[in-house]
């Protein structure tokens, strides 16, 4: 069987690329290492263009829009629930801080504006500022103009807020610890940094992308499932593939367990860039190989499930009582230890109850399940955690690993030095938590 293209990984990005290639007439084989898809990875904004182009609505795509979208315990008892309706949230906040309630609508509006700038950036390949190509320079100028037209405040906000720490940003706006804690958690989401670290405001905005104003948790969906239902590509599961290349050209993949070789002139990998490229080091120039091995993807999250007797009422339950709480949780991770008091978030989605525990650096996790159980007021045997792995996003979303620096500085257009080998996963622009975006960008770059 001759294939025109092999895509490694049947996650949202891999399948997206595969479908775009298939619609362009290519015969595509998708090779996925796991037998079953991992639904917990379907988190984040699915760009409208992907839904439209691939007909995902017809394939049963469902995007969850829970209301309230977050529930956080209050120190004196009771909970704070934030709604998709800004005024309802204001009401809820008013009970703990009238000052914060008054600022809430403005805050949501400002963040939405900034997120919309990112959204515009994310559905296209990153700007190439080093090029002399007139069209690209015009595009960049156009982008600059678009931002400027959003107003002086937006330009200043972008310059100021992106490098800021989320703690500083939130301290400027709000006083309530619980509110700042649950918002701050989004700033450190899947990041090995505390809320006082620079660049966490960017991470916050990144995950706000695609959300309605006033909603600060990425949406859950069944996008991978929907993509699987769309016909047009062949998917082979349970086989881990490694790229084959010779003399600077990709020749296909080899399936590690069976040793079977499948040839194709085009290989697109949605696997982490490091895992894809380092085995090919001999084909790479050492400076590039060094840049690849310098990609930071330090996993700090243990994910798992909760076995509860009945489905909980909340959509998302967040244990992040203050910014200091999060900062202390990070302190432990700096020295390679699990947080004594971790940030825990529980999410009810699609019949499952998922739990996110941060900070849990790689390694052994003695007593972690117990601590989590204690925080959630459940029994330890109800908590099932997987150990932390390399970052879900194949590359931390820090300011030095985004846009034209992602995955490797200068190689942000999904190509690699190996002809015929492309990258399309969350390790590329725009990064993790935006399922399908990288896949689409990569596909358009290839075609």
């Amino acid at each position: 069987m001759n294939y025109d293209a092999i895509v490694i990984g049947a996650g949202a990005n891999g399948l997206t690329t595969a479908h775009y290639l298939a619609r362009a007439g290519k015969r595509v084989l998708v090779v996925e290492q796991h037998q079953t898809a991992d639904p917990s990875a379907d988190i984040g904004w699915v760009p409208d263009a992907v839904i439209r182009d691939l007909g995902l609505a017809g394939a049963g795509l469902q995007i969850e829009t829970p209301d309230p979208w977050i529930t956080a315990p209050l120190p004196a008892g009771g909970t704070l629930e934030l709604s998709r309706h800004i005024d309802r949230s204001s009401e809820a906040i008013r009970r703990i801080s009238p000052g914060d309630a008054a600022k809430w609508p403005d805050f949501c509006r400002r963040m939405r504006t900034l997120a919309s700038v990112l959204e515009r950036l994310y559905v296209v390949p990153p700007p190439d500022i080093e090029t002399n190509d007139v069209r690209e320079l015009a595009r960049i100028a156009g982008l600059g103009l678009y931002v400027r037209r959003l107003g002086k405040q937006t330009v200043i906000d972008l310059a100021r807020i992106l490098p800021m720490s989320i703690a500083e940003l939130l301290d400027d706006w709000f006083e309530s610890d619980v509110l700042k804690g649950l918002l701050g958690a989004l700033g450190i989401w899947h990041l090995k940094q505390g809320p006082r670290s620079g660049g966490t405001s960017f991470n916050f905005l990144h995950h706000h992308v695609g959300c309605a104003a006033g909603v600060f948790r990425p949406a859950r969906s069944n996008v991978t499932q929907a993509l699987c239902k769309v016909p047009g590509v062949e998917i082979r599961r349970g086989a881990r593939a490694r790229v084959l290349a010779k003399n600077g050209k990709a020749t296909g993949v080899v399936l590690e367990q069976s040793g079977e070789t499948i040839q194709a002139p085009l290989v697109v990998s949605s696997a982490p860039p490091r895992a894809t490229l380092l085995p090919l080091a001999i084909e790479l120039y050492p400076d590039f190989a060094r840049d690849v091995s310098n990609i930071r993807a330090r996993g700090v999250v243990a994910r798992g499930t909760l076995a509860l007797e009945q489905a909980p009422e909340y959509a998302t339950f967040c244990i992040a009582p203050s910014l200091d709480y999060l900062e202390r949780a990070y302190d432990d991770a700096k020295y390679g230890k699990d947080s004594t008091a971790p940030y825990v978030e529980v999410q009810r989605t699609d019949g499952r109850v998922e739990v996110h525990v941060q900070f849990v650096p790689l390694g052994a996790h003695d007593g972690l399940a117990d601590r989590v159980a204690q925080l959630l007021k459940v029994r330890p045997n109800q908590v099932a955690l997987q150990p932390a792995e390399e970052s879900l996003y194949h590359g931390e979303l820090t300011l030095d690993q985004i846009l034209f620096m992602r995955p490797v500085p200068g190689w942000s257009r999904y190509r690699t030095p190996i002809e015929g080998l492309y990258l399309c996963g969350s390790g590329t622009h725009p990064g993790g938590g935006i399922p399908g975006a990288a896949g689409r960008n990569a596909a358009r770059e290839i075609l």
Partner: protein, 398 residues
């Protein structure tokens, strides 16, 4: 803490008559032992000169993928080299610009010793990703001497107590000198009959003694870097940081050179798989390099006239120089390039220089002008492009 001394220093130290030392790779080595380097130079061409070349960086590369690593890094074809062969080779960056040059000695099937002018351990490691290879820095543990000159073979044969006539040019063999295990390679930096002797640093002093004693009746002369400089210019051999800059040290693009621009096109293998800089070098070879590295011979009469004009006899440089000297066309106005090394050859009785000229002007015989400062004024002497090397005796390869 200060500069370190080589393993031969217990012998070379006391020989210095004028305390004329210089730095080489963090070591002190002699510029000359005697008060003038003249006799030391003549020993190279007349009897035998003994140089301490221990400061060279040396790396032992072993393992299944040793050849593969080296082939990835350098331009010569290492896999095709036979045990006992020595390769002179440059290596390049991804744009085909030269990083450094050195030798690779094929000591065994999976054992290579690489020398370089600059530290290269990190570069080797960076290129070795995913390869089954071991890289050891043996710079400090291996000492080396260079014995160059018409009597070098006889001296070495006596010292090693074996025949060396069959040791061909750029080949190596192992031997024992007074029981000390050594590697002898027929290599050197003088373009003459000569050998380099590689020994474990702990045995450096006895080796020196052995050679010094054996060579005494043949006029063996410890020689320093000043003498070596003259000989290497005669041989047309380039020196890093003088005749070219490592692309990794270059501050601007124009400071970089490709091997083709340095006359090293012959070291670029055409039958190899991927190596650093291959694509760029292939492209450059097709369109032709922009620069050539050539010799220049300064016209004596022209030079003499410049001095006569101010009433002086001609002044020849007492030592080889290592500065950049502009080279102009016949008309004296358009700059064609620059010379980077030069000096008087006492043997050839010529004022010679090594220069970089734009390719269109580099044909041997082309007449040019070389800048000379005479009595504080910039003047120009006639010179013509000469093919390298200036000196190439039969005995070098015999």
């Amino acid at each position: 803490m200060s500069l370190r001394t080589t393993p031969f220093h217990p012998r070379t130290g006391p020989l210095s008559e004028g305390q004329a030392w210089r730095r080489w790779a963090g070591y002190v080595v002699a510029s000359s032992y005697e008060l003038s380097h003249e006799r030391e130079y003549h020993a190279i061409r007349n009897s035998a000169a003994l140089f301490d070349v221990s400061p060279l960086y040396k790396y032992l590369v072993t393992g299944k993928d040793a050849a593969r690593l080296l082939d990835h890094v350098v331009t010569r074809n290492v896999a095709k080299a036979r045990v006992g062969q020595v390769l002179y080779t440059p290596w390049c960056d991804n744009e085909g610009k030269q990083i450094d040059d050195g030798t690779i000695s094929v000591l065994g099937d999976q054992t290579y010793r690489m020398t370089s002018a600059d530290p290269t351990l990190r570069w080797l490691h960076l290129n070795a990703s995913g390869l089954d290879v071991k890289i050891q820095d043996v710079s400090e543990s291996t000492a080396a001497l260079s014995l160059q000159g018409p009597c070098s073979r006889e001296i070495l044969q006596l010292a090693a107590e074996r025949d060396l006539a069959s040791l061909k040019y750029f080949r190596l063999t192992s031997a024992k000198i007074r029981g000390i295990p050594v590697t002898i390679s027929r290599t050197g930096y003088t373009g003459d009959l000569g050998y380099e002797v590689w020994v474990d640093a702990a045995q450096a002093v006895p080796l020196w003694d052995a050679l010094a004693e054996t060579g005494a009746p043949y006029g063996i002369t410890p020689a320093g870097m000043l003498a070596l400089d003259v000989a290497r210019i005669e041989a047309g051999l380039l020196l890093i940081e003088v005749d070219y800059f490592s692309s990794r040290h270059a501050l601007i693009e124009s400071q970089k050179s490709s091997p083709l621009e340095l006359g090293l096109g012959w070291t670029i293998a055409t039958d190899k798989e991927r190596y650093n800089g291959q694509a760029a070098l292939d492209a450059e070879r097709k369109r032709g390099p922009a620069w050539q590295f050539t010799g220049l011979t300064v016209d004596w009469d022209s030079l003499e006239q410049l001095y006569a004009d101010v009433g002086l006899p001609p002044r020849l440089p007492s030592q080889a120089w290592r500065t950049s000297v502009p080279i102009y066309d016949r008309g004296g106005r358009k700059q064609l390039g620059y010379a980077t090394s030069g000096g008087w050859s006492p043997l050839l009785k010529r004022y010679m220089a090594l220069a970089h000229l734009g390719s269109e002007h580099a044909k041997p015989g082309t007449e040019v002008r070389m800048e000379v400062t005479v009595e504080h004024r910039r003047r120009q002497a006639k010179a013509h492009v000469t093919a390298l090397p200036f000196f190439n005796p039969e005995r070098k390869r015999a």
